[in-house]
Symmetry: C2
Subunit: 385 residues, 2 copies
């Protein structure tokens, strides 16, 4: 008896990851008897977790019946709360987005108001997708500040007044609610969507501020206090005159964040209030703005060069508002990383702009919910109930 990979939850994991799509596949992969697999699959079908599709290709004998996740009956939500927007997506159990919406919304309005808005949007999206509220199994949410993941409570978030220690999961009645930092869920979304095979990945969000989500060994690394990835206040060389809101100087965010770039453009006499304005100027062909973005890429690259040596990831993804001009930003990042990091660490490293784009956060948040629901422990609990 080897370490038995045979519980219903494990079987479902194999189906959901596509490692095995038929009963015989499952028998081969798990080493269990075909009859045992049939029994497990029957239980999963009975619970509405798996469905049979058309029979597949024959390989010389009876064609197998394909199995896949039963995508009706269940629904999951991914919520992306930003400082000034709220994006909500409804997805099925396979991670496919069924419907999504985005509205301007001030996080500073406080949890009651913001979560009520989310709740209304969830109802609307569920109606669009033709699923009852009861089908909603779990909600994943990314918020712009540090969170104690285990409890879903924001931990002294600087830009979320009124949210400190607010127990977000308790607001929703029924589904499991998982709350994490927005950069973490973006990293997860990008990993699952574009680089599912990568073991170690960094996702850098360059917007008003600068943050980083860490996927280590395929899982999110949140750190001891859930504050891992906060690279915006790492010191960069040669900018000791640049003061930062954190009280120190020469922080990455203070020289390469969207707010800092806008400020420097204003000093040059241009109209720029936010990261979006900087992007607009670059897209309009302004050479000053372009130069600043490229220089910001180099500065971000300087910090990342150190982190590449330290963490040795396989992939670095650049996302966030500034990445809309990613050609210039990523060029600066690449330039510095390849110059300053060790060859062994950069040899198989790819550095790319985000592929999931604006959906990265809702996708990652939703997948956090789906993966929680599909975890072997949870499935075994459901099947044995």
């Amino acid at each position: 008896m080897t370490p038995q990979p045979g519980s219903p939850g494990d079987v479902l994991t194999l189906i959901s990851t596509g490692s095995a799509t038929t009963r015989s596949d499952l028998a081969r992969v798990t080493g269990l008897a075909r009859s045992t697999i049939s029994q497990r699959v029957d239980a999963l079908i009975e619970r509405g977790l798996v469905e049979e599709t058309e029979t597949g290709e024959s390989t010389g004998g009876r064609p197998p019946r394909q199995l896949r996740l039963h995508t009706e009956e269940h629904a999951f939500a991914g919520v992306d709360l930003g400082a000034t927007h709220c994006r909500v997506a409804l997805m099925d159990i396979s991670g496919e987005i069924l419907a999504a919406c985005e509205d301007p919304l001030l996080i500073g309005d406080g949890p009651e108001e913001v979560l009520a808005h989310v709740d209304r949007r969830l109802d609307a999206l569920l109606a669009d997708a033709g699923r009852p509220r009861a089908a909603l199994r779990a909600i994943g949410m990314g918020v712009p500040g540090p969170v104690e993941f285990a409890t879903g409570r924001p931990n002294n978030p600087p830009i979320m007044p009124g949210w400190n220690d607010y127990p977000i999961p308790e607001y929703f009645d029924g589904p499991s609610v998982l709350v994490d930092n927005d950069v973490n869920v973006m990293a997860l979304g990008e990993h699952r969507h574009a680089f599912p095979g990568a073991r170690h990945l960094l996702f850098v969000k360059a917007g008003t501020g600068i943050g980083c989500g860490i996927v280590a060994d395929g899982k999110l690394h949140r750190g001891a206090q859930g504050s891992a990835g906060d690279i915006g206040h790492i010191r960069v060389s040669g900018h000791d005159d640049a003061g930062c809101r954190c009280g120190n100087s020469a922080c990455l965010e203070a020289v390469a964040g969207g707010a800092a770039l806008a400020r420097r453009l204003r000093e040059l006499g241009l109209a720029a209030e936010s990261a979006a304005d900087v992007v607009a100027l670059v897209q309009a062909g302004d050479t000053q703005a372009l130069r600043l973005v490229r220089e910001a890429g180099r500065l971000i690259g300087e910090v990342l060069a150190g982190l590449v040596n330290f963490f040795n990831p396989e992939v670095i993804v650049i996302g966030g508002a500034l990445s809309r001009v990613h050609d210039h930003l990523v060029a600066g990042v690449r330039e510095t990383i390849y110059r300053r990091s060790l060859p062994l660490a950069t040899h198989h490293l790819s550095i790319t702009p985000s592929r999931a784009g604006v959906d990265a956060a809702v996708l990652g948040a939703g997948l956090l919910a789906v993966e929680h629901y599909l975890s072997p422990d949870n499935i075994n609990r459901i099947v044995n109930a």
Copy 2:
């Protein structure tokens, strides 16, 4: 049936970690029937993996028979290869060191000669401990350079001429051999010995060069190419004139490594060739040397401050040759980290000198071997054989 934590390997894990020390404990923790537990334990005793000790304290009824790892019959080795030394320790299955030795040895003599030396020392230590060679189940080894852990082959190590791609495990016939970077095994040793409860730990080795071992979620993080933790070539501010052997300038190692400190002391007219000489000068009360060490601590702290924001560890351990003057080094490190890192990340962070000292590497290497042997998969294989 919940995710069954019931295989013999799992039972042994509970015994070895001290989570359960009696049969009834095991039944309570695993949820298995007492009779099943007895059967598992009998199998483990029969294989010589577990032994019964004196009966324990009664809690009002029949006193339980204590169980623990059977420390005779098995032996494990931890090998610490440095540039100029070789330390070997023999330990039992509980991680207790039975015997140890250290000799000067040049790694540059090449694998055949060095490993032959290790082999002779192993025989001597086994004889000391009164155990037959056949009792040696596994060997862990730390080497001063990057290693492909899965195969045990050094990967272009700069200071190990003749070792590139040499398949170290094949040299030893019989026991499993696990080879890793020396800093990684030191991190593991320190974690298991002094901070077994910490989830995330960084071990910094400050010697001739500067490296870092990473324990993430209780396990070593090696990175995509096994080069994670190479912090010696991260850039520090304000030292652009300091050239480094890697071809860049302002590398941490080039300004705060033992070799760099020795060079700067020579420029001041003092006799210092190595990190050990720097330590000797500090211990002799030389104020110039002391000032340099403290400044080195600040520079290391600057790099670590960034890594604390990024990785958010619970513990940072400072080890290596320079840590013999750890009062001064650690003071510099603390000073900068608490100034430059985010409060949330430093609030529960402890920064301490190494507690395992010179044994950190052999301890970690040996534990790598023991933990490999005690892994549930391996134990199940042994019991079912």
